[in-house]
């Protein structure tokens, strides 16, 4: 019926993961770093759902874990945003390079 295998989905997941990692590593705006984390979690989710489709034994598990990851991502975004707002209130900046008070 189709000649689309599991590999293209995994490669797209890898690409999203690399983009998210670059976003986390390079961005200096704290909200930008948060966006990178969202990209990484989405990459993991793409892999989960693709494996759920192509590996018969994994059909239910893949979707269940994808849903759990979506909920975790929502919670992570809420807490991260609260921390960013707190940092912004205290330091009047969102530049993550300025968050160096714990540096020895």
């Amino acid at each position: 019926m189709t000649d689309l295998g599991l590999t293209p989905y995994l490669c797209l997941g890898a690409f999203l993961f690399a983009c998210g990692l670059l976003c986390i590593a390079a961005k200096r705006n704290a909200v930008g770093v948060l966006m990178g984390v969202e990209l990484v979690l989405n990459a993991a989710n793409v892999n989960f759902v693709a494996c759920a489709r192509y590996v018969p034994k994994f059909a239910l598990e893949g979707q269940v874990f994808a849903l759990l990851v979506i909920v975790l991502a929502a919670g992570e975004a809420a807490v991260a945003l609260a921390i960013i707002l707190n940092f912004y209130n205290n330091h009047a900046t969102v530049d993550v390079d300025r968050a160096d008070e714990l540096k020895g």
Binding site: G5, G13, F15, G32, N45, L60, G75
Partner: protein, 173 residues
């Protein structure tokens, strides 16, 4: 070339380009908009894979909830000097090399895993009903843990983000 392949090519390239634009946009507001397109593209991929419930959840929770949070974060901290923070070229170089290495490694592994999984099984993916039964039987413990976790997270976020008076201002009063 079947319809699936063409659809996958269109959606995947749109999603990948949006993800690249998230990284390379200078302006954080534009990054947020590109992230929105990326998330919508990923949910379309779920629909293409036949996981309708996960795709719908992605649209509702991610695009409707998490993106609103991120946009609020951008708006609350959007001052002119933070919209475009300059990034040094050596930071780009280091992050780029790291991301390229990981991408190459993951693609190598993907090629090995994907071997022999060319055709999906013909039976449809389990739908919302089977997922719900699964959540309340086999996966009851993760389900309960994640619901308590969500409650804890919401209380923690409300506690962290509440309005506080800065010590300096309190001293001036």
């Amino acid at each position: 070339m079947t319809l699936d392949v063409i659809l996958f090519a269109i959606i995947a390239s749109a999603t990948g380009l949006s993800a690249l634009s998230v990284v390379f946009s200078r302006n954080v507001v534009r990054s947020a908009v590109w992230l929105l397109f990326t998330l919508v593209g990923v949910s379309l991929l779920y629909f293409l894979l036949g996981a309708e419930f996960v795709g719908a959840t992605q649209l509702i929770v991610y695009v409707g909830g998490t993106m609103v949070l991120v946009v609020f974060g951008v708006m609350l901290t959007a001052q002119q000097q933070f919209l475009r923070i300059r990034i040094r070229p050596e930071e780009w170089a280091m992050g780029g090399v790291l991301a390229a290495c990981l991408f190459a490694l993951l693609v190598t592994i993907s090629l090995r895993i994907g071997e022999g999984k060319a055709a999906p099984p013909t039976e449809p993916m389990p739908g919302a009903g089977q997922l719900g039964v699964g959540f309340l039987t086999t996966y009851l413990l993760p389900f309960e843990i994640i619901s308590v976790h969500l409650l804890v997270v919401l209380i923690g976020a409300a506690y962290l983000a509440r309005a506080k008076r800065r010590p300096k201002e309190a001293g001036n009063d």
